[in-house]
């Protein structure tokens, strides 16, 4: 059942459950930061509306910079602002930033220890109709390999807001991942958030499998948990909002509670959340693991729901993975 200690949204499974894109939480948090911290500046590369930076622009025009279609320039300008004491948030689609400008981020932001927050939007195949060119499915892999870069993937717009506010407190570079579509609100304002801490959203007494999920896919994992509950199969669903730096011993403990693992993410199965969990387990306590995500292929245009089903990231596919790992 939903973990009572975390004050999660009890109406989550209702048909009319509230939905909102995680990027909305980003936009709201930026305005809040603008009011409380005069060093916060925002840069965008011709995507102010869809990456939700317009409200910040309207409220703080002097601290907003429209860079035009130039993501490398955006990253390096932000680096210059950061070493001069500003806290820049750069905002674009994840395919372009940190995709197109990855080396600029590596050199001028991360290796340079510049306090820049990189917001990558339209991540995952959930981006839908725009097609594979605009669906970032490699960005977690691209960012988590950079030494000293923190990586966060919020599961809903409320958690997104908390993460953004928290990220401004971190003295160092941060990557933030957002999705385009409206997704269910899983948490509430009361749900605690702590950097690096994986949280058990679905708790059971004798779990057979531990699901580690990230981003809005945590909802699909919770759907799977609810269906499995009716079949008397107990599992854990752990929301991993911090990809890096993560508390490794907690990941190991949670995996050991069941002895079997499924990773769930809207990202390539290589190098993302599943990769991170596998590395930690291989080092500390090798356990069987199944991977839900994009299976080393590009997706295509389509309705997000149809894509999630076709590329086997829906609750049915997660349930299959749970059965499979139990049989191993």
């Amino acid at each position: 059942m939903l973990n009572k200690k975390l004050f999660l949204n009890q109406k989550l499974f209702d048909h009319d459950a509230l939905t909102k894109p995680t990027r909305d939480g980003f936009g709201e948090a930026l305005v809040e930061l603008g009011n409380t911290n005069k060093d916060v500046v925002v840069l965008t590369a011709d995507l102010s509306e869809s990456t939700r930076t317009q409200e910040f622009q309207n409220n703080f025009p002097n601290r907003f910079f429209e860079i035009g279609v130039a993501e490398q320039n955006m990253a390096a300008i932000a680096a210059g602002l950061a070493v001069s004491g500003k806290i820049p948030f750069i905002s674009s689609y994840a395919v372009f930033s940190p995709g197109k400008n990855w080396e600029t981020i590596r050199t001028t932001i991360v290796y340079n220890r510049a306090n820049v927050k990189i917001a990558g939007h339209h991540a995952g195949i959930m981006t839908g109709a725009d097609g594979a060119t605009h669906q970032a499915t490699e960005d977690i892999a691209l960012t988590r390999v950079l030494p000293g870069l923190s990586v966060f993937v919020p599961c809903d717009s409320i958690e997104a807001k908390k993460i953004i506010l928290e990220s401004a407190q971190i003295d160092g570079p941060v990557y933030l991942r957002f999705s385009r579509d409206k997704t269910p609100i899983i948490t509430t304002n009361k749900t605690p958030f702590e950097v690096g801490k994986p949280q058990v959203f679905w708790e059971t007494n004798n779990p057979k499998v531990t699901i580690f999920a990230t981003g809005y896919m945590t909802y699909n994992a919770l759907l799977a948990a609810k269906i499995l509950e009716q079949k008397q199969i107990e599992i854990l669903v752990v929301n991993v909002a911090t990809i890096k730096p993560v508390n490794e011993s907690e990941i190991v403990e949670l995996a050991k509670r069941s002895g079997r693992v499924v990773s769930v993410e809207d990202h390539q199965v290589m190098g993302g959340l599943g990769g991170m969990i596998s590395e930690i387990l291989a080092k500390n306590s090798p356990l069987p693991i199944e991977f839900i995500g994009l299976q080393d292929t590009f997706a295509e245009s389509g309705n997000p729901k149809d894509l999630i089903k076709k590329y086997k990231m829906d609750e049915e596919s997660i349930i299959e993975a749970v059965y499979k790992v139990i049989e191993r």
Binding site: F65, G68, G80, V83, S84, K86, T104, Y111
Partner: protein, 288 residues
Amino acid sequence: MDTPALTQEKLKDLELKANRARELVIDMLLEAGSGHSAGSLGMADIFVSLFFHILNHNPKKPNLVGRDRLILSNGHICPIYYAVLAMSGYFEISELKTLRKINSRLQGHPHRTSLPGLESTSGPLGEGISQAIGIALSGKLDRKKYHTYVIASDGEQQEGNTWEAVMFAAKHKLDNLTLIIDRNNIQIDGFTENIMPLEPLKEKYLSFNWNVIEIDGNNIKEFVESVRTAIAFTKKPTVIIANTIPGKGVSFMEKDFTWHGKSPNQEEAKKALNELRTLQGRIQSENQ
């Protein structure tokens, strides 16, 4: 801070210092066994003018809020950068010998947080002007008086990022930013005009709404005057296209692109240092 015009005495002092910096570059590169000779030697006059006449800086307080900023975009010519930093007193001259070696603060390409005096991390080309823009923008936001200088190579004008930055600086009328292009006509694979022609470079910058000054980059007097003009200019960023001789001061390296990314061996270094010593004597006698 205002940059005064050069007196004859100061000019001689700077010329001697540039010569000394060239010697240090040869020493460092010989010891390191690899590194970039031509650009480092060619830019000695400009680096020395900046650190010993133009920049408002304090080696004892490298993080001084109001200091002028110098960004080196083409990080591979860092031997000359390190040499003038050491000569200025940011660290001991003896540390120059650790260039490119393990446990050294003098990385093969500059790493900002490793060494006092560095304002950016560079090596991958085309990223310095953008970083300088961020620093200049921050200065405008905070109404700070510092000036931001950025040195870029001519070869890196081929990077798309360069022109993204050039457009932005003009849009924001960053008159607190001065770009110095080391126009030495060489890059690793050959002459720029054969690899990927840059000309007409001056007209390119003019058409991008920059203030353009073209000078002999090995003439300290011309360079100082061009900076004085750049600082006084308002409403536009200024680019100083500095025509330099790659390998300047060492006859067998001058204008030879094979010296772009090469360091001298023992014999070559000895020959180079001899030439620089002769040059030093000439500077001393000429200005008497």
